[in-house]
């Protein structure tokens, strides 16, 4: 009931966007369908004349069909970049199999005696195709187009991941924000569209003879028109931004930026995994990212300084069970050796080596400790074992390796790594129940995901890193008997990124300067 009200409110508030996305969705589907029919039907007909090719072509189309849609989009991006091109191509590839297969099946199902009689009466091959085979295959052929249309409506939601618009923008925004109303706001119209396409084509299928011919003609004309509905914002403004769905929806993401800087760039929505790639290739000029991501270094991007503190602080801090600290007093000093050692740029460098140079987190961690003179030979184990946790991405693996090496070098404690613990809630739960003894966490995450304080408290904390750390430290102690130690130094928060050269040319270093440039 609650979700329903939220949903209706959301639709009301975003009516313009809903309309636009629905039209984009219809346009995408129709464009791919036009291509699918234009290529699939002749291809199917060719196969009826060269049946020996059929297993190869159908097999190929079948393999395409089995490629997960998000992977197919991923394959297409290096060649075609982001935007409508790869989206339509992917949808087209998916629509190929049902259309080709049904064209072939439809024509092959035509009674051989009918074709033989027609040929015997003196119809030419072309006349047999047009007057006998195609009309008789039409119901099956239409069933194939119908299948393709429904598949396309579904897969077209993924177009939102590559800046091609459509109803997927709401869906993936909703998933990223864990907002069921927002997911439904996109999913319900998408399902309705699928039903509408299906119903429409089913109606066409039920027509007979001449009506069918008319309907076919209407369809041929209307599909390209529908495809024309598909219009995307293109860089009419100075810059085109590409943002991940979560960033667009989160109050500390784009809405926060708009609030603090008055920033509202022309933007498209993109899969989080693709924003960096899109920025590098120049498809978009401005993206959201994380300030210590290795790709900043790899793709030569510049982090725009958040001079008005729109993004909340996400300082990395080891969180440890109080029980453990009391039982092993030698542990805290060993962990403290890393405090303040990792700046944003140092962490970015380490991430880069793991994510892009494919060095192991352990090698990178040991190398770092050696260079800082922090490395010591492991001591013989003579006591309890410390269980180290980490979340499931490169930076956390590196931090876990750093702590493991320090504990081994500076204490007699054993170390057991429990890395790759899904997300924040899993790690926090593991720590509370004592399944692990410590893991690196970010202040902003502890605040928003675990503690979830009322809005008034959040406002009072504001963007001050020290205030946030103080608050989470106090609350963790009180609620969970967990201890936030000293910060490591870097702040893995949201960041606005531009290609370094582009930013240099425009003389943009801070978000304020960007905002001024866009005015």
């Amino acid at each position: 009931m609650n979700t329903l009200t939220e949903l209706l409110t959301f639709w009301q508030a975003q009516a313009g966007k809903l309309g636009q996305q629905t039209l984009q969705h219809i346009g995408l589907t129709a464009a791919a369908l036009v291509l699918g029919v234009a290529v699939g039907v002749p291809l199917g007909l060719l196969l009826t004349r060269r049946p020996r090719l059929a297993p190869w072509v159908l097999g190929g189309a079948g393999i395409l069909q089995t490629i997960p849609s998000i992977a197919l989009l991923g394959f297409l991006i290096p060649a075609l970049g982001i935007g409508p091109g790869p989206a339509i191509l992917a949808l087209f590839l998916y629509s190929l199999l049902p259309i080709v297969r049904n064209t072939l099946a439809g024509v092959q199902a035509v009674d051989a005696a009918v074709v033989d009689a027609a040929r015997g009466l003196g119809l030419t091959d072309r006349q047999i195709l047009r007057r006998v085979e195609l009309p008789l295959a039409l119901p099956v052929l239409l069933a194939g187009i119908r299948t393709a249309a429904v598949i396309n409506v579904g897969v077209a939601t993924l177009a939102a991941y590559i800046a091609a618009g459509g109803l997927g923008e709401f869906i993936f925004g909703g998933i990223a924000l864990n907002n069921p109303a927002m997911i439904l706001a996109g999913a319900i119209p998408a399902a309705a569209l699928a039903l509408a396409f299906d119903g429409l084509l089913a109606g066409v299928q039920r027509l007979s003879g001449r009506q069918l011919k008319r309907a076919g003609q209407v369809l041929l004309v209307s599909l390209p028109l529908l495809a024309g509905l598909y219009l995307l914002p293109r860089a009419a403004s100075k810059l085109l931004a590409g943002f991940s769905p979560e960033f667009v929806g989160r109050s500390d993401g784009l809405p926060g930026l708009t609030l603090r800087y008055g920033l509202n760039p022309t933007s498209v929505v993109l899969a989080p995994a693709l924003v960096y790639e899109a920025a590098r290739s120049g498809d978009v000029d401005l993206i959201d990212g994380y300030s210590t991501d290795g790709r900043i270094r790899a793709y030569d991007l510049r982090v725009l300084r958040d001079d008005r503190h729109a993004f909340p602080p996400y300082q990395a801090v080891p969180v440890v069970r109080q029980q453990t600290l009391q039982a092993h007093p030698e542990l805290a000093p060993a962990l403290a050796r890393l405090a303040g050692q990792l700046s944003d740029s140092v962490m970015t460098e380490l991430n880069y080596r793991v994510d892009y140079r494919h060095e192991t987190p352990r090698a990178v961690a040991l190398d770092f400790l050696r260079r800082r003179g922090l490395w010591r030979r492991p001591r013989p184990v003579g006591g309890a074992t410390i269980r180290l946790g980490s979340k499931i991405f490169g930076e956390q693996y590196i931090l876990a390796e750093l702590y493991a090496a320090l504990i081994r070098g500076y204490t007699n404690l054993g170390v057991e790594a429990k890395t790759g613990l899904g997300g924040t809630t899993i790690c926090a739960e593991a720590l509370r129940t004592g399944a692990i003894d410590l893991y690196p966490e970010y202040t902003g995450t502890g605040l928003l995901v675990v503690l979830q304080p009322p809005a008034a408290t959040l406002d009072s904390l504001g963007p001050d890193p020290a205030a946030v750390l103080q608050y989470v430290r106090r609350e963790y102690r009180r609620r969970y008997q967990l201890e936030w130690l000293a910060p490591l130094g870097f702040n893995n928060t949201y960041a606005l990124l531009m290609r370094r050269r582009h930013a240099e040319r425009l003389g943009i270093r801070t978000v304020s300067e960007l905002s001024a440039y866009l005015q």
């Binding site: 009918v114 015997g120 009466l121």
Partner: protein
């Protein structure tokens, strides 16, 4: 006297599929209006032979000539539009009405719509498919026999001089089959046409053929009039092929004309037709089978033997002679003996 150009001539026609020879060195020539039946067991090559006539199958060697012209001299489609084509499965276009099906070839030939409509109506009427009832029906609404009639009408629509028929009655039940065959035989449309008909049914062949071409393993075993195959088989295969149906075939292959000399002389020739029996007349060009059928329709009344008599009309000498079961069968027996001995 000049020899007329054959309507259809086949010279040394051969077809191989891989190493298998399906049709081997077949030759024949048909005069206009003649009906040739291609007869033989399944797989003997008769359908392949037929399909080479309208180039649905291209021969590996040999020639097909229509009115003395090689069929390869014109596009296959144009050739086919000039030949009727009827197949066992009928193959009506399921999305066309009966009238549209019949009109396919005339439309391809660009005939005027009014002319096509008139022709369609005429043909449907003649084939016992009243157009007001059937013209706008779809093939699936018709019975098998009705469909085959439409198929026949379609083949005849453009009035082609040659009609090819591949087991045209093969898919019908025996009763429908016999009645359609009778209609077929009596259809004036077909009398003038040169027909090539494929069948494996010996009775059908004898009923419809002017000449029979008996095929086995792609080779011609014998080509000739039905009675020649029956009474003077060229080889053992031909003899064995007809052995099972010998009597019934003889009844169909012999005409009353053949029996005239063997009819009992005591019956004599009456010049004047007996007044009471003016409906019980059969012409001497009928087969013995037909005479028997007529006799079986007469009332069996021992009190008036005249009523149980069939009058045989002869032309040379002109007159009428009485026929009874006894006299007919006696004469039939003698004739068979005489012809087989010759």
């Amino acid at each position: 006297m000049s020899v007329p150009t054959p309507a259809l001539e086949v010279r040394n026609l051969t077809k191989r599929y891989g190493s298998r020879t399906v049709v081997q060195e077949v030759s024949f020539a048909l005069v206009p209006g003649e009906t040739l039946v291609l007869l033989g067991p399944s797989g003997c090559g008769k359908t392949t032979l037929l399909r080479m006539l309208n180039r649905l199958v291209e021969p590996d060697a040999g020639q097909v000539l229509v009115q003395g012209t090689d069929v390869r001299e014109q596009p296959a489609e144009l050739l086919r539009r000039g030949m009727g084509y009827v197949i066992q499965q009928v193959g009506l276009l399921p999305h066309y009405t009966v009238a549209e099906n019949v009109a396919v070839v005339p439309r391809l030939l660009g005939h005027a719509p009014a002319q096509i409509a008139a022709r369609t109506e005429e043909l449907l009427r003649r084939l016992h498919l009243p157009p007001e009832q059937f013209a706008n029906q779809y093939p699936r609404q018709l019975s098998g026999g009705q469909q085959q009639r439409v198929g026949l009408a379609r083949a005849l629509a453009a009035d082609p001089p040659i009609v090819l028929l591949d087991e045209p009655f093969g898919a019908l039940d025996p009763i429908t089959r016999a009645s359609i065959r009778r209609e077929f035989r009596e259809l004036p449309e077909l009398r003038r046409k040169t027909l090539v008909l494929v069948t494996h049914d010996v009775t059908e062949a004898f009923e419809l053929a002017d000449r029979i071409l008996l095929l086995e393993a792609g080779r011609v075993q014998q080509l000739g009039r039905p009675r020649e195959l029956l009474l003077r088989p060229a080889n053992d295969f031909v003899r064995r092929f007809f052995a099972a149906d010998r009597l019934s075939l003889q009844l169909r292959a012999l005409y009353l004309n053949d029996l005239l000399t063997d009819l009992p002389p005591e019956a004599g020739t009456q010049i004047i037709l007996p007044s009471e029996s003016d409906t019980n007349i059969i012409h001497s060009s009928a087969t013995v089978q037909q005479a028997l059928e007529e006799l079986s329709h007469l009332p069996a009344d021992p009190a008036s033997p005249a009523a149980a008599t069939l009058w045989l009309e002869t032309t040379a000498p002109a007159g009428y002679r009485p026929l009874t079961y006894a006299s007919l069968m006696t004469a039939f027996g003698r004739t068979i003996q005489r012809l087989s001995a010759a």
